[in-house]
């Protein structure tokens, strides 16, 4: 009950933020260089043709007027039409979002599975080889630019070793996408009992997910280590030891659960970083997600998809934070009471 109230309050707090995002995306896009009307009319177009296109796009109206139309359309769920694809932006985003989410979640899952144990081990054995390994991995993870890691992985695993398939999207040319259930190809292929397809999708997913994972691992491992060290030195751990509790209970039930609290908060931030980092990774791996979509639109001075993308990210971000808050509340009773 307290948790519901907490969620409701967080949701209400998010509303002004979302409104702000709507205003900012609108203004930002108007401030971007380039004239979309001229761009789409083509180099050979006459002055009149350009003006016609401008009128069709509503770009001949005053800025406040354009904003009113924009908000009205948004309220109807109309994000405009992409000039490049000729499709409604909402539809484009909806078909491409699963690809981005699959990639981001795979990267995050990978990062958590490696970084959490690494952080715990390096905290329980400071100065050991695990600790040093963790330090090397985390330093590399934060200091290498993400597109560089991606290109490096492609070079080594595709070009040199030939282990990975060509970095050309979610599936090779010979496979067809599974029937959509979740939109995640690997999951959908498994649901369709098509092992070969699942494997093919997984092979495509591996390198971009590892690229994102490497990037996300560093902060998670670092935070886990620091938090775990702090908790292990705290008084209630001493109490648990003095009571003769089994080392595993002390480490997992007592120490780790407490140490995870700041890590949960961090995961939210890492997830939103990853959403941003996706734009580059999708480009490198020709991954048909919303990031590469927005990037292409941006280069083409195609406003609507960019606006739609930023709004989508902002909404995702709000719900992500909400989820984090709820999870945190489930783990930490003190938050539940404060709500």
């Amino acid at each position: 009950m307290a948790l519901l109230r907490l969620a409701g309050r967080r949701l209400a707090l998010a509303v002004p933020g979302l409104l702000g995002v709507i205003v900012v995306t609108f203004l930002l896009n108007r401030a971007l260089p380039g004239d979309p009307a001229a761009f789409f009319a083509g180099p050979a177009a006459t002055r009149q043709a350009i003006e016609e296109i401008r009128a069709r796009l509503g770009l001949d109206k005053s800025v406040p007027e354009q904003f009113v139309y924009y908000v009205r359309d948004l309220a109807r769920g109309d994000l405009g039409t992409s000039l490049t694809t000729g499709q409604p932006v909402l539809r484009d985003l909806a078909t491409r979002l699963p690809a981005s989410l699959e990639l981001t979640l795979a990267g995050l899952a990978l990062a958590v599975t490696v970084a959490l144990p690494l952080g715990v081990l390096s905290a329980t054995r400071p100065g050991s080889w695990v600790d040093h390994l963790a330090r090397v991995v985390t330093t590399a993870g934060v200091s290498l630019p993400i597109f560089f890691t991606g290109l490096l992985l492609v070079y080594v695993f595709y070009f040199l070793l030939g282990w990975a398939p060509a970095p050309l999207g979610r599936l090779d040319a010979f496979s067809t996408a599974p029937r959509q259930v979740t939109g995640f190809f690997v999951v959908d292929a498994v649901l369709a009992h098509d092992g070969a397809l699942a494997w093919a999708a997984l092979r495509q997913l591996a390198l971009p997910a590892v690229t994102l994972g490497l990037f996300a691992m560093a902060p998670i491992a670092r935070m886990t280590r620091a938090s775990m060290l702090g908790v292990l030195g705290s008084e209630f751990i001493r109490t648990a030891r003095a009571a003769g509790l089994a080392p595993r209970t002390v480490l997992v039930t007592y120490a780790l659960r407490n140490a995870l609290l700041p890590v949960i908060t961090l995961l939210g931030m890492v997830f939103s970083f990853l959403l941003g980092a996706n734009v580059l990774v999708e480009k490198v791996f020709a991954w048909p997600g919303v990031g590469s979509y927005a990037l292409e639109a941006l280069i083409a001075s195609d406003y609507a998809p960019v606006q739609g993308f930023v709004l989508l990210m902002a909404t995702l971000y709000v719900f992500l934070n909400l989820t984090i808050d709820i999870v945190y509340g489930l783990v930490d009773p003190r938050v539940r009471i404060e709500a």
Binding site: S234, E235, F236, R238, T239, A240, R241, A242, A243, G244, L245, A246, P247, T249, T253, Y254, R257, N258, L261, V331, D332, P333, R334, I337
Partner: protein, 322 residues
């Protein structure tokens, strides 16, 4: 006092390696406690009371190292026992309660569960019985409405309540020895008295030996059978409580008594102890009270520090006792 003590600590020395050199926190500490007996360990802050307790339980921080001595408990030397043996002893045979009870409990686990964890580890109880036993224990430490408190988190309870939970947790498996490290620091005076009465009551009814660590002589005066006085990592004097109060032989004990408020004493009679606990880094003098002592003489610099039995059960570590 029975012939074989429940626990005897002999010749215990502990060092800490710090950035500023080796701290000789304990030097040849020795005392013993009989079954069911209550022994007070008193001394100023930094005298090594907590380190003694942690060492006995095998809970020294990584920087600490035992350099000599034994702590024999029921035939087992706790200092050389394996980690597995110690795990069996802790919580079952000997337990400890700490100062600042609120932070000594897991903040995100219901207090009832924390007690149940100890029972699960040591007591052979079916799951269903475990919960009942926790409720019994909560009632035993006089926590009102145990059913409801079972699910409470430490932050929902007062400091005194938390200390009662801590006590319930420590005595859950009826240990033979309970070490209470300043169990009432930070609690208000009435709560203090309540906690001390509870501890006394538990040890009387269960025949549990108790080591009461405090810097407040007034706390231990009526509640302890014997008192061990520590100063800068040395045991300077130990004696039956009555003897110690009536006729202290170590100058430090006398000073400590004079600095403790007592019923009927005038405020003007209270005298603080001059100087501060000496720096324990590097080499130290045989008697670590020497620089603060008004009776110090050349003989005090001659090693080793004497340990004189002046009466049965009364030991003084002083070359020139009162």
């Amino acid at each position: 006092m029975s012939a074989v003590p429940l626990m005897s600590v002999e010749d215990l020395s502990v060092e800490f390696r710090t950035r500023h050199g080796v701290v000789r926190a304990l030097e040849r500490v020795g005392f013993s406690i009989a079954r069911g007996e209550t022994v007070g360990i008193v001394g100023e802050s930094g005298s090594g009371k907590s380190v003694t307790a942690f060492t006995v339980l095998g809970l020294l921080p990584p920087a600490g190292r035992v350099t000599s001595g034994r702590a024999v408990f029921g035939g087992l030397d706790l200092l050389t026992a394996s980690a597995g043996q110690l795990l069996e002893y802790r919580g079952r045979e000997l337990s400890m309660i700490f100062q600042s009870p609120r932070t000594a409990l897991n903040p995100i686990r219901p207090v009832g569960k924390q007690i149940a964890d100890v029972l699960e580890r040591h007591a052979n109880l079916p799951r269903a019985r475990r919960r009942d036993r926790v409720l019994e224990l909560l009632a035993r430490v006089q926590i009102p409405d145990p059913e409801r408190r079972y699910h409470a988190y430490p932050f929902e309870l007062s400091g005194g309540m938390c200390q009662r939970v801590m006590i319930a947790l420590a005595v859950a498996c009826s240990p033979a020895l309970l070490i209470a490290d300043e169990p009432t620091t930070g609690l208000d005076v009435t709560t203090q008295a309540g906690i001390l009465d509870l501890l006394g009551d538990l040890s009387r009814t269960a025949g549990m030996a108790t080591i009461m660590i405090t810097h407040d002589l007034a706390v231990v005066a009526e509640r302890c059978d014997r008192i061990v006085v520590m100063h800068a990592g040395h045991v300077v004097e130990q004696a039956p409580a009555r003897t110690l109060f009536a006729r202290p032989r170590h100058p430090y004990t006398a000073r400590l008594l004079a600095s403790t408020p007592r019923a009927g004493a005038k405020l003007a009679d209270l005298t603080p102890i001059p100087g501060a606990v000496p720096d324990l880094r590097g080499e130290t003098t045989p008697c670590r009270y020497r620089t603060r002592c008004e009776r110090a003489a050349a003989v005090c610099d001659r090693p080793p520090l004497p340990r004189e039995v002046v009466a049965p059960g009364h030991v003084v570590a002083c070359a020139r006792p009162l």
